[in-house]
Amino acid sequence: MKGFKPRVLLLLIAVSTSGTVLAEDSGQARVWLERMATAMSQMSYQGTFVYMRGGAVETMRITHVTDQDGVRERLYSLSGAHREVIRDKQGVRCVLEDSASVVEDPVIARSFFPELPLSVIENKASGYQLKSGGSARIAGHVARRVSISPKDSYRYGYDFWLEEQTGLLLKWVLFDTDHKPLAKLIFTDFTMGSGVDWDELESDTNEQDFVELKTFNPEKTVVTQSKPRWQPGKLPPGFNLASHSHQKDGGGVFEHTVYSDGLAAVSVYVEEQGRDKGVKQGTSQLGTNNAYSRIQGGLQITVIGEVPVMTVKSIANQIALSVASK
């Protein structure tokens, strides 16, 4: 061991230990994320939260109940125009008072494609780095922090503050590759389990005031294992095909494919240009979601997801009729 200085030995130990610590940290983060996924879908909870994005601050209320009838959820705004999303076994209804409209989407059959496991975002090839650590008191509950940082510019990062006992989400921060927050959601009061008031699931909204919007007819679509006819020639690193559905009869072109990197998901819609106005061509923003739409050969191609503009544009510009379909 002559010439092998203690300082070098200490450095080697420190490096190897830090690697182990990082791996353990990542493993712990994954355990917390799995707890969150289970808790958010299987537990009952209720609370008021503040949502901040850009210069806008909005206050909302969520009631999520799970019982033998499945999941029932009501999310509505307490400030500004009345807007509401109701999810139950009948599907999703979105009430948008400021445009006097409602968007309805019945329950869509589950994808045949396997859900990407959380281990996908833990491995080295993934676009994310997982970290856990830190705690804070939020809405009267102790919360643990889990951070998912993007490794490239094709996806966003997330900070989750999870209730210590259950893993329920108490604070959520979306940030870009520079760790600059893009949006924040913080609960100001939070109740779970038997403390949830089920009466709040009932909407005060008068149904006859709404107008149903028909952008496409989801009842006529079918989820399939077949390869999409329209698909991107290339995808950002880590993204894989997650689901595919299309119009089941000869009523025109409608194809919807979802690509995911295990955490972020991007939808690709290929639809025949109808007589009504389609999505604005170019880039649009819907909350923290970016969308990019373009026309190609009488078809409208729209890519949407909670990813940077660069990602939706990259995918949209790569969409082409697959060789097998020609």
Binding site: S41, A56, L75, S79, R83, L96, A242, K277, T283
Partner: protein, 214 residues
């Protein structure tokens, strides 16, 4: 509105209200516009209080809110911190910056320069007396920043796309209701497209063949 209501609102913000009272107050928030406006105002006031003494507090509420978003940004490594000899220099630099800013703010601005925004709401007039931020029309701050009206496509179609996306993207279920917050929060916004990227040019970026992913 009673003093008690104000106190309850304040305690609700701090998460100190009992569950029963919180529920009662939340129901009132859904129907009482005045209470709801106060609730929004409290959030803005709290945000403003965090950095007192700044001009932005008075005139740039939107900027203040942006700052609050950045507030909890993770700490960055700063090369300046490690250089002790730079401290005196940085002190001089800061003083100089403040002096320059003072000059900029006190220089009289000509009226209606071409291309210059004439919205006085965000313009600071140093001769005007201090105006409490509480008197600003807070409600507008919680409105969508911008919205693409008719003539620029159908925003409801985007909403429908997003709803279906959230349903089909099973990974979105991991964050539960958060995926739907965007729909409740804002209408679609038209975004200025500064990218030069053209169809087919994406293959120059670090993307991989889709076939490899299958």
């Amino acid at each position: 509105m009673s003093k008690e209501s104000f106190e309850h609102l304040s305690r609700l913000m701090d998460g100190e209200l009992s569950r029963e009272t919180g529920l009662f107050l939340t129901r009132r928030l859904a129907s009482d516009e005045a209470l709801c406006a106060t609730w929004e105002r409290y959030h803005l006031i709290r945000d403003c209080i965090r950095q007192p003494g700044s001009k932005v507090v008075v005139t740039g509420l939107r900027e203040k809110l942006n700052e609050s978003l950045i507030e909890e940004d993770s700490p960055r490594f700063s090369p300046w911190r490690s250089s002790g000899w730079l401290k005196p220099v940085s002190g001089v630099a800061i003083a100089a910056s403040v002096a320059i800013m003072a000059i900029v703010f006190s220089t009289p601005q000509p009226d209606n320069l071409p291309g210059m925004a004439t919205d006085t709401a965000l313009t600071t007039n140093v001769n005007q007396p201090f105006v409490s931020p509480n008197t600003l029309p807070m409600v507008t701050v919680s409105q969508p920043v911008s919205y693409a009206p008719g003539g620029q496509g159908n925003p409801e179609r985007l909403n429908a796309y997003l709803l279906r996306h959230n349903q089909m993207a099973r990974t979105a279920g991991r964050q539960g209701f958060v995926s739907f917050v965007s729909i409740v929060a804002t209408r679609s916004e038209s975004v200025e497209d500064n990218s030069e990227e053209q169809p087919g040019s994406a293959d120059k970026g670090p993307v991989q063949a889709a076939e490899n992913n299958k």
